[in-house]
């Protein structure tokens, strides 16, 4: 028996959302390599509606209300059309087109939205909304890519990023965002009691929109979603009660949105949550979470990732290890070199700005080494020995020469060293004061000179 029809039947019979959504998943599977073709061949354009109506009304033990039956027939008829467009990629590639696939999939999406608002679809069917939303975005991307590749083929002598070819390059994806937004509203504004509510779909839909907005460079629009969610927050079920895949994805995106706003404290909270509850085998996603969590943690706590943390992620190891080593050693010269070597990648990943702040930490570590090198003062009156806390500015100047790999001829400007020192003191990375007239730094006693570093 046809696999799609079987899923449709079983989904309805068992009242299983995932099974019904499987019917609406427009791909072949390893188990059914001809899944799409077989569904397409089960009927023809003239008879698709009547065949589906007959099929749906035959399902044992299921009596769909008339309006609901009509709605499903319409949805699966539209779906059948999409499958026809998809089958073309194999059977007659010259007439196949992602724009056509997208346009007909959009019909499926609109019919489904209408069915939820008018035909009383139950909330158990909501995985259908997920799968239709998911493929709407994917097909829109493919359609846009197809359009832009044809555009550049038609005008080969135009520059790639010429404004004329750039215009409308995300046209379908932008349109898809508007459809997804209606799905978002459909979930958010459902007034049904909590257990039967489409509100359970809200984070899934929000995530689809986040992905879409990031892709079309409209991250700002994500904030409208967050505002809408906030306004309804008392009516939403607790976050812990949603499936983890919805929440981890949601937290990741909210974290990145805060990150891009340079709100690193809030970003870290969300990203740490995403990290904690992420599936342990989802390597790629864990890597993405850490890409932003590491700089957040550096800015917020002035702490570096451990070796074991980066060890499992070669790409992150490459991205962050040189920088972290320089910060750790207080190697300012190496830090600047690592920043410029990685600049393109850092800017692309939008992590340049927070990483830049790592220079202060490198400087702090360099000066901390001066403090350690100062050793202990002679013990008085049987007190335990304490670190020397009065240190000549000249020693910091010398350290700076080491850290910046200054050559023999370059001179050290003591004013500038004092400036750097007072900057670190101001930022709370060092505790103490400058006794200018004596050319000394007087640091806090009792393990508080460099807060959080043990000395």
């Amino acid at each position: 028996m046809d696999s799609i029809l079987k899923d449709l039947e079983e989904g309805q019979r068992l009242g299983s959302g995932p099974r019904l959504a499987a019917a609406l998943t427009p791909v072949d599977t390893p188990e059914y390599p001809d899944r799409l073709k077989s569904f397409y061949n089960f009927t023809n354009a003239a008879q698709v509606s009547s065949s589906l109506r007959y099929y749906l009304s035959q399902i044992r033990g299921v009596k769909l209300p008339k309006q609901e039956l009509h709605a499903w027939v319409d949805i699966f008829s539209a779906y059948w059309k999409v499958v026809g467009e998809l089958v073309k990629f194999e059977e007659s590639p010259s007439s196949a087109s992602w724009v056509n696939v997208y346009d007909s999939w959009k019909d499926v999406a609109n019919l489904l939205i209408r069915a939820y608002s008018n035909s009383g679809f139950d909330n158990w069917t909501i995985p259908c909304l997920y799968v239709v939303g998911k493929y709407l975005r994917l097909f829109a991307s493919k359609a846009d890519a197809e359009t832009s590749s044809q555009g550049s083929a038609a005008f080969p002598d135009r520059f790639q990023d010429d404004i004329t070819t750039d215009f409308g390059k995300n046209a379908k994806l932008e349109e898809a965002a508007r459809v997804l937004n209606r799905m978002f509203t459909l979930c958010l504004n459902d007034r049904a009691p909590r257990e039967d509510s489409r509100k359970w779909g809200i984070y899934y839909m929000t995530n689809l929109l986040f992905k879409t907005y990031f892709k079309i460079n409209a991250v700002g629009l994500s904030k409208n979603l967050l505002r809408a969610l906030n306004a309804q927050s008392i009516d939403l079920p607790d976050m812990e009660d949603f499936p983890r895949s919805h929440i981890v994805t949601f937290k990741y995106f909210v974290g990145v949105i805060c990150f891009l706003d340079e709100n690193y404290a809030e970003a870290e909270e969300h990203l740490a949550y995403a990290w904690t509850y992420c599936h342990k085998s989802a390597i790629k996603n864990k890597e993405l979470i850490l890409t932003y969590l590491v700089p957040c943690h550096l800015v917020n706590t002035h702490t570096l990732p451990s070796k074991t943390l980066l060890h499992d992620f070669p790409r992150l190891e490459k991205l962050y290890r040189p920088l972290c080593d320089c910060i750790r050693k207080g190697d300012l010269h190496g830090f600047d070199a690592a920043m410029s070597a990685g600049e393109e990648e850092f800017v692309k990943r939008r992590i340049y700005l927070p990483l830049e702040r790592g220079r202060d930490i490198a400087l702090r570590n360099l000066f901390r080494k001066v403090f350690i090198a100062g050793g202990l003062e002679e013990a008085k009156d049987e007190q335990p020995p304490v670190r020397r806390t009065r240190i000549p500015v000249a020693e910091f100047a010398a350290a700076l020469r080491i850290g910046t790999h200054a050559d023999e001829r370059s001179r050290v400007d003591i004013d500038e060293v004092e400036c750097l020192l007072s900057n670190l003191i101001y930022k709370g990375l060092m505790k103490g004061y400058i006794a200018r007239e004596r050319g000394m730094i007087v640091l806090s006693k009792g393990g508080a000179a460099f807060p959080g570093t043990g000395v």
């Binding site: 892709k215 983890r244 342990k280 451990s306 990943r349 700005l353 080494k369 020469r401 050290v412």
Partner: protein, 89 residues
């Protein structure tokens, strides 16, 4: 040492660059992936995996800044440089 100044101008340049770069989009392979399963129990979370891998402590972040091996070298190096600083004044 004009390092600080050049650093500042570099930072300004960089922030300008990020402003300009805002239109670049994350590449396809940088997209957060769909999880293969919808939900998973506590013991399949990263938190649980990290806890079993490291005894009970999640060792995510470097806790110590001390580098005892290099401390002595630095001390020596510092004395060398200090002479140069003193003589250049």
């Amino acid at each position: 040492m004009s390092n600080n100044q050049s650093q500042d101008s570099k930072a300004a340049e960089a922030s300008q660059q990020t402003q300009q770069q805002k239109p670049t989009i994350l590449e396809e392979d940088d997209e957060f992936e769909d999880f293969p399963v919808d939900d998973w129990p506590e013991n399949e979370t990263e938190q649980a995996a990290g806890a079993t891998a490291n005894g009970k402590d999640l060792h995510l972040w470097e806790e110590s800044w001390d580098d005892d091996d290099a401390a002595e070298d630095f001390s020596k190096q510092l004395k060398e440089e200090l002479k140069k600083v003193d003589s250049s004044r």
